[in-house]
Symmetry: C2
Subunit: 95 residues, 2 copies
DNA sequence: TTGACAGGCAAGTACACACTTGCATATTGG
DNA sequence: CCAATATGCAAGTGTGTACTTGCCTGTCAA
C-alpha cells in the first residue's frame, strides 16, 4: 500500500483528484476525456489507469465495479493524516 | 519554487519536518545528528542540506542566519493548501 | 455469435531526483 | 594568524517511476 505523500507527488494524480472532486464517480474513460479537455493533459489511458491504482493504494480513491464499468470515488480522509502529523497554525482550521 | 507536494514526497524530508516539529530552530548539524540517532537515517550532511533547500523552496521551512549558524524553523502554513484543495469530510476538522 | 466497448497485464524506455564525493567559503576561538 | 567549525557549490552516479506500446480479458448489444 503506497502512502499518501507519494500519491500526491505526481501532477497528473493531483489533476485526477481535482477532476473527481468536481464530479465524483467517474469511469476511467470519462476521466481520460475530461483530463485531456479541461486540464490539457495528453496522457494515455494506461497512464491514467496506473495513476488510479496508486491513488487507490493510498486510499484516496475507492472503486465500485458495475458490469463493464468501474466507477471511481474520491475519499479525502487519508489527507487528515497530513494535518494531524504537522498541525496547522491556529486561527482558521474551519475554512 | 518547488511545490508542497513534491517537498512531502521524500521520506527523508518528512522525517526532517518531524524533527523540526519536535524541536524548532535547529541547525543543519543538529538535524543531521538527531536524524541519525532517533530516526535511524544514515544521510550525509549534504543530502540533508539539499532536502532543507527543497523544504525552504516549498515554504515549509524558514531560515534565520546568525553568524556561522543557520537556524531552521518549521512553517506548516503551506499544508493548508492541501486540505483546502480537497476538503476533508465533515465531523472532525478541529481535532 | 460477432463486433464494439471498458478495462487489465506486462515489459521497455527515458528522465527526474535522491544521494554521494570533493572542494570552496565564511565565521569563531585560541 | 591559524585551526576548527558550520555551511555552500558543483558535478557525477544510480535507482525509482512516469509514461508508452502491445496484447489480452471481460461485458454488452445487434
Amino acid at each position: 500500500m503506497a502512502d499518501v505523500y507519494e500519491a500526491l507527488a505526481a501532477h497528473a494524480r493531483r489533476a485526477i483528484l481535482d477532476e473527481l472532486r468536481e464530479r465524483n464517480g467517474q469511469t476511467l474513460f470519462e476521466i481520460c476525456a475530461r483530463l485531456t479537455m479541461k486540464h490539457g493533459l495528453g496522457l494515455s489511458r494506461q497512464a491514467i489507469s496506473q495513476h488510479l491504482d496508486v491513488l487507490e493504494g493510498a486510499g484516496l480513491v475507492h472503486t465500485r465495479r458495475e458490469g463493464r464499468y468501474k466507477f471511481h470515488h474520491l475519499d479525502t480522509g487519508p489527507l487528515r493524516a497530513i494535518v494531524e502529523r504537522w498541525p496547522l497554525p491556529k486561527g482558521k482550521e474551519n475554512r
